[in-house]
C-alpha cells in the first residue's frame, strides 16, 4: 500500500507517457510514434528541413496563431453576447472589467491578423520551392482552402465587436458579395439573414466564426499536416542547404525528437511572446457603437479585402468578383496544370523563372492594391496621401 502511494506520481506519468524522456535514438523514435501529438511528424526527418530557410517557420507560425486564437477565442466566448443590443457593451466590459479581457482580445485580434499574413506568405513560400507539384497537389488545394477559410474566419470575426468599424466593413464586404452575377444578392441575403447587417447577421457570423468554420478548419488542418508527412515531409533541396554540404559527416536522416520538436517549441514560444508584446503595446480598436445611420466616409472593408475593394472600385464585377474568384480557382487548378517537377526545394530556381515571376507579380499586385486601398483612399474613395 505504502509503495503504491509512493509510486503514484511515477505510475501516473508512466500511464500517460509510455516511453519516458528519450535517452537514445531508438527511444526518441518510439516517443514520436507513440504520442498522438508528436506522430504528426515522421520519427526521422531530413536534416535539411531543420534549416530556417527551408520553411521560414511560416506553417508553424500559422498553427501557433491558430492555437492562440482557439484559446483566447474560448475565453472571449464566456463573456461575449451576440446580440446587437448588448454586443458592444460586452465588448466594452471585456476591455474594462473582465480579468485580462483586454489582453485576451488584443491577442485574439493580432493573432488573427498575423495568421492572415503568415498563411499568405506560407503559400508564397511553398509555390517558390515548387511544393505544389506532384505528389503534393491535393495538399496544395487543401492549403488554398485553408487560406480562404483563414480569411473567412477573420471576416466573420470582424463583425462581432459591433462597432462602426465592424458594421461598415461587413456592410462593404457583403455588398461585394452582392456583385456576383445572378446569385450575388441571394448569397448576401443568405449570409446576412436579411438585406442589411443586423441582428440575424450578427448571430450568423457568430456561429460561423465560433462553430462552423473552426470545425471544418481544424479537420482540414489535421488533414493538411498529415499529408505533409505522407507526401514526404518538407520539400528541401539536398544540394543547397548547409546540413547537406556536410552530408558525409552526418546521417542522411536524423530523429525528429529533439531536433525538430525543440525548434518548434522555441519558435512557438517566440511567436507567443511577440504577439503578447504587440498586444501590450497596441490595443485592438473599438470604435463607437455600430450606427446604421452614420456612414463613415470612406467605408472600408477589413484590410485584407481592401485590395478587392480597390479593384471593385474600378469595376464591381470584373474587379470585385471575377479577378479574386479566378485567382482562387486558378490557385487550386495550378498543380494540375503545372506538373513538371524542376529543381524542387530551391527558391525561385532558374528552371522555373517564368512561373515564379508570374506568381510573385500577381501577389505583389494584390499587395499593392491592398496598400493603396488601405492607406491612399480617402473620402469618396478619392486618391489621397496621408492622412486618408
Amino acid at each position: 500500500m505504502r509503495n503504491t502511494l509512493k509510486n503514484l506520481p511515477r505510475h501516473i506519468y508512466a500511464s500517460i507517457f509510455r516511453v519516458g524522456w528519450p535517452a537514445d535514438e531508438r527511444a526518441s523514435i518510439k516517443a514520436m510514434v507513440s504520442s498522438i501529438t508528436l506522430h504528426i511528424h515522421a520519427p526521422k526527418i531530413r536534416p535539411g528541413s531543420l534549416g530556417f530557410r527551408a520553411s521560414w517557420a511560416l506553417g508553424l507560425l500559422s498553427v501557433v496563431a491558430l492555437g492562440l486564437l482557439l484559446l483566447t477565442g474560448i475565453y472571449l466566448m464566456f463573456y461575449y453576447i451576440p446580440h446587437p443590443d448588448v454586443a458592444y457593451r460586452t465588448m466594452k466590459d471585456i476591455g474594462y472589467v473582465v480579468p485580462l479581457g483586454r489582453l485576451t482580445r488584443d491577442l485574439h485580434r493580432w493573432a488573427a491578423h498575423g495568421m492572415v499574413i503568415t498563411v499568405t506568405l506560407h503559400m508564397l513560400r511553398v509555390f517558390l520551392v515548387g511544393g505544389h507539384k506532384p505528389p503534393r497537389e491535393a495538399n496544395w488545394v487543401v492549403g488554398v482552402l485553408l487560406w480562404v477559410m483563414t480569411l473567412a474566419l477573420s471576416f466573420t470575426g470582424y463583425l462581432l465587436p459591433w462597432d462602426q468599424l465592424a458594421f461598415w466593413a461587413i456592410t462593404v464586404g457583403s455588398n461585394m458579395i452582392a456583385a456576383v452575377p445572378w446569385i450575388g444578392p441571394g448569397a448576401r441575403e443568405l449570409l446576412l439573414g436579411d438585406r442589411i447587417v443586423g441582428e440575424s447577421a450578427l448571430l450568423r457570423f457568430y456561429v460561423l466564426h465560433c462553430v462552423a468554420i473552426p470545425a471544418v478548419m481544424f479537420a482540414l488542418v489535421g488533414f493538411h499536416l498529415f499529408r505533409v508527412r505522407k507526401d514526404g515531409g518538407l520539400i528541401v533541396s539536398e544540394h543547397e542547404l548547409p546540413h547537406a554540404r556536410h552530408a558525409d559527416d552526418g546521417p542522411k536522416l536524423i530523429p525528429a525528437w529533439p531536433h525538430l520538436v525543440y525548434r518548434e517549441v522555441a519558435v512557438g514560444l517566440f511567436a507567443t511572446a511577440l504577439l503578447l508584446a504587440i498586444s501590450v503595446a497596441a490595443h485592438a480598436p473599438l470604435e463607437p457603437e455600430a450606427d446604421p445611420t452614420r456612414t463613415p466616409n470612406p467605408a472600408k472593408a477589413p484590410w485584407y479585402f481592401l485590395g478587392v475593394q480597390e479593384l471593385a472600385h474600378y469595376h464591381a464585377f470584373w474587379g470585385g468578383v471575377f479577378v479574386p474568384a479566378a485567382f482562387v480557382l486558378g490557385l487550386m487548378a495550378l498543380p494540375y496544370l503545372d506538373r513538371e517537377v524542376r529543381a524542387p526545394g530551391r527558391y525561385f530556381p532558374r528552371e522555373r523563372w517564368l512561373a515564379c515571376t508570374l506568381f510573385v507579380t500577381l501577389l505583389s499586385f494584390f499587395a499593392a492594391v491592398t496598400v493603396v486601398g488601405t492607406l491612399f483612399r480617402g473620402p469618396g474613395w478619392a486618391f489621397t496621401f496621408w492622412p486618408y
Binding site: 535514438e25 517549441v265 522555441a266 452614420r294
Partner: protein
C-alpha cells in the same frame, strides 16, 4: 545520443521567449491589479446609458443647481459632459483614445449639448446657445442650409426694382466688400470675381423697376428733416451719423446710396415699395418725407470727397443678364433675397441637421489648421474663412465669409449648429420651443398689428422679436387701455435716464384705441388676482410706508427721489392697475413679472397701503425731455 547538440541561439531563443511570455503576462496582470474591483454603476434605461462616472465623482459636489433641474437618475452624466460612461479609469472615461472618439466635452460642446433636449431660441443657462440660435435665424443660415423645422429666412431686402433704388456702381462696390461701405453690414462677404459681380449687376439692373416721381424742387429742408428723424426715433433701429440701433441697415450713406425718388416714395408708404420689410408701415406726409430726403442728401454722406464706389462706375452689360440669373441661383442669393419670378428656394449647401453627431475630425480640415478641437470651433473658423477647409482637389467653397460678425457670434453660431442632432431623443426628454401661438388677432386689429410691425420688436404670446425690452404679454393686466392708447399716439418715456426707443408711428386716435382694446382684452395675466378696491384709510397709511420701505430710492414722485432708474410714479393711477401694483409688491417679481423691480414681498396690508397711495398720485403735465 550523438546528435543532440542544439545551437546556442536556439537555446537563447527558447529561454528568452519563455522569459518574455512570463514577463508580459506579469505586466498585464500588474496593470490590471491597479484597476478598481468594485463598480459604481448607474443605469438610465430611457437613454440606454450605463455609466461608471460615480466610481470617482460624487454627484452632490456638482457645481451650481444644475442637478436640481437635471436629476442624475434621469439624465446621467454623459449626455451633458460627454466622455465614455463605461470607462473605469480616468483615461478611459475622459480621453479620446484609439477606441473612443468622444472625449469629455469642451465647454463649447457642453453648451451645445443643452440643445439636444432644449428647443427654441431661449435656453435657460445657455446664453451662447441661445444667442447662436437667434443668430442662426437672423443671419439667414437656413437660406442655404437645410435644417428640419427651420423656415426660409425672411430678412434681406427684396431685389425687385433695384434699378430705381441704387446706383450700379454702389452695388458693385457692395458686392466686392460690403465692409468698405458699411462697417456694420448684415450681408456676408462673398468672394466674387469682378466678372461675377458684373453679371449679377446685369441681372439685377435689368429687372423691371417702378417709375417713381421725382422729389419736387426745393421742397425739403434739412434741418426740419433732422428734427423729424429725431422725433420719429429712427435711431432706435438705424444708425444715423454714427449712432443708433443695429436692427436695421445703417443710413449713414443713405444720401448718396439711395436714389432720391425712391427714398421719397418709400418714406411716404414703406410697404408699398417693400411689402415684406420689417420696418413699421410709416406713411409720412410728403412734406416730412421731402425734409428727410433733404437731410439725408446733406448729412448722410461719407466724409471722403470721393465716393468709395466711383471707380466702379461703368455701364451695365445688360446682355449678360441671363448669366447673372444663373449665378444668382447658383450662389444661393435666393436664400435671403427674393426676386419675383424665380423658382422656390432650393438650398445650395449641405444640410446641417446632423452636425451635432459629427466629430471635429469628421469634417474636412486640410490647408487651414491642423487641429480643430471641436465642431463649434470648426464652424467658427468656417464662418471666418469659408475656403480655409477646402479639400485640395475640390472646387472652392462658395460660402460667404461671416468674419464681420465677430468671434462671440461665430462661436455662438458654432454652438447652435453643433446642437443639431439627427436621431430623436425619447419624447419625455425633449423640451420643445414654446410653440408660438397665433399672435396676430383677426380683422382690422390684425391688419394694424401687421402694418405697424408690432411683432418686429415686441414679443407677444411666444412669437415676435426682441428689439423692445417690453414683452406685450400681460400688458393688459398691468396698464389701463386709456393710457396705452395715449402712449401709442405719443410714446414718451417713463424712465428719466433711458433713451426713448419706441418709434413715433403716427397712429391715428381710432387705431390707437383699437390696439389698446386688443391689449386690454387679450393680453392679460392670470397670475394677478382681482383685489377689492383700496380704501381711503389704506391710501393715507401708504404715504408713510412709501418712504419707510425705500421706494424713493429709485422712484421719482413730484420731482422727489434719487436714482431715477425706475418709472416716474406721477400719474401712476392713470397708467397702472391697482391689482397689478398690489400683486407685484406682495408676491414679488418671481410671480408677477416686473422688469427690474426688487423682490419686495411686503405683507398684504402694507402692499395694499402703498399701492393705494401710488394709485392716488396726481399726474404731471411735463415729462422727461425727449433726447436729441
Amino acid at each position: 545520443m550523438k546528435h543532440y547538440h542544439h545551437p546556442a541561439w536556439l537555446h537563447a531563443l527558447f529561454a528568452l521567449s519563455a522569459l518574455a511570455i512570463v514577463a508580459l503576462v506579469g505586466l498585464a496582470i500588474a496593470d490590471e491589479a491597479g484597476r478598481p474591483t468594485k463598480l459604481e454603476q448607474r443605469i438610465v434605461p430611457a437613454l440606454g446609458l450605463v455609466e461608471r462616472c460615480e466610481q470617482c465623482h460624487a454627484t452632490d459636489s456638482h457645481p451650481g443647481d444644475w442637478l436640481t433641474h437635471h436629476p442624475v437618475e434621469r439624465f446621467g452624466c454623459t449626455p451633458c459632459h460627454g466622455g465614455q460612461g463605461l470607462g473605469i479609469t480616468k483615461e478611459e472615461a475622459h480621453e479620446a483614445a484609439l477606441d473612443w472618439e468622444r472625449p469629455l466635452f469642451s465647454p463649447l460642446e457642453r453648451e451645445a449639448a443643452c440643445g439636444r433636449c432644449h428647443g427654441g431660441d431661449e435656453v435657460p443657462g445657455a446664453p451662447n446657445l441661445s444667442r447662436g440660435r437667434h443668430a442662426f435665424r437672423e443671419r439667414g443660415c437656413s437660406g442655404c442650409h437645410e435644417v428640419p423645422g427651420e423656415p426660409e429666412p425672411d430678412l434681406a431686402p427684396d431685389l425687385d426694382g433695384l434699378a430705381a433704388k441704387l446706383d450700379p456702381a454702389w452695388v458693385r462696390a457692395w458686392l466686392t466688400d460690403p465692409a468698405v461701405l458699411l462697417p456694420s453690414h448684415a450681408m456676408p462677404r462673398f468672394a466674387l470675381t469682378a466678372d461675377q459681380i458684373e453679371v449679377l449687376v446685369a441681372f439685377l439692373f435689368t429687372r423691371p423697376a417702378p417709375s417713381l416721381p421725382a422729389v419736387p424742387e426745393d421742397s425739403g429742408d434739412a434741418d426740419r428733416g433732422k428734427q423729424a428723424i429725431a422725433r420719429r426715433r429712427c435711431a432706435t433701429c438705424h444708425v444715423l451719423e454714427g449712432r443708433g440701433g443695429v436692427f436695421a441697415p445703417s443710413l449713414d450713406q443713405a444720401g448718396v446710396k439711395i436714389q432720391k425718388p425712391w427714398f421719397f416714395a418709400y418714406l411716404q408708404n414703406v410697404h408699398a415699395l417693400r411689402p415684406r420689410s420689417r420696418m413699421p408701415g410709416f406713411t409720412l406726409p410728403a412734406g416730412e418725407a421731402a425734409d428727410m430726403v433733404a437731410y439725408a442728401a446733406e448729412q448722410l454722406v461719407p466724409d471722403t470727397p470721393e465716393m468709395p464706389w466711383s471707380k466702379f462706375d461703368t455701364p451695365v452689360q445688360s446682355e449678360r443678364a441671363p448669366e447673372g440669373h444663373a449665378l444668382f441661383v447658383k450662389l444661393g442669393c435666393r436664400g435671403c433675397h427674393r426676386v419675383e419670378g424665380l423658382p422656390p428656394l432650393k438650398r445650395t449647401s449641405v444640410p446641417l441637421g446632423n452636425m451635432g453627431d459629427k466629430r471635429a475630425f469628421d469634417l474636412p480640415h486640410q490647408n487651414f489648421i491642423d487641429h480643430v478641437p471641436d465642431v463649434p470651433t470648426w464652424i467658427h473658423f468656417k464662418l471666418w474663412e469659408p475656403r480655409g477647409f477646402d479639400l485640395p482637389e475640390a472646387k472652392p467653397s462658395s460660402m460667404p465669409s461671416y468674419a464681420h460678425l465677430g468671434p462671440d457670434e461665430t462661436f455662438a453660431l458654432g454652438i447652435a449648429v453643433a446642437s443639431l442632432h439627427a436621431a430623436p431623443l425619447p419624447s419625455a426628454y425633449v423640451r420643445p420651443a414654446r410653440t408660438a401661438s397665433q399672435a396676430l388677432p383677426a380683422g382690422e386689429t390684425g391688419r394694424l398689428v401687421e402694418r405697424f410691425r408690432c411683432l418686429a420688436c415686441h414679443r407677444v404670446l411666444g412669437s415676435g422679436g426682441d428689439i423692445s425690452r417690453v414683452p406685450l404679454d400681460g400688458e393688459g393686466a398691468r396698464t389701463k387701455p386709456e393710457w396705452v392708447a395715449s402712449f401709442l399716439k405719443e410714446p414718451l418715456t417713463l424712465r428719466m435716464n433711458q433713451a426713448e426707443r419706441m418709434p413715433v408711428l403716427g397712429i391715428e386716435e381710432v387705431d390707437a384705441r383699437r390696439l389698446a382694446g386688443w391689449i386690454d382684452v387679450t393680453l392679460g395675466d392670470d397670475r394677478i388676482p382681482p383685489a377689492p378696491p383700496p380704501t381711503e384709510a389704506e391710501r393715507d397709511a401708504g404715504a408713510a410706508l412709501y418712504g419707510a420701505r425705500g421706494c424713493p430710492q429709485c422712484h421719482v414722485v413730484a420731482g422727489q427721489g434719487t436714482m431715477m432708474k425706475a418709472p416716474v410714479l406721477d400719474g401712476a393711477g392713470a397708467r397702472l392697475r391697482f391689482d397689478y401694483v398690489l400683486a407685484m409688491l406682495r408676491d414679488g417679481p418671481a410671480v408677477v413679472p416686473a422688469r427690474r423691480h426688487p423682490d419686495a414681498r411686503l405683507p398684504e396690508a402694507e402692499a395694499r397701503a402703498i399701492s393705494a397711495w401710488v394709485m392716488s398720485l396726481p399726474g404731471r403735465v411735463e415729462h422727461a425731455p425727449a433726447p436729441q
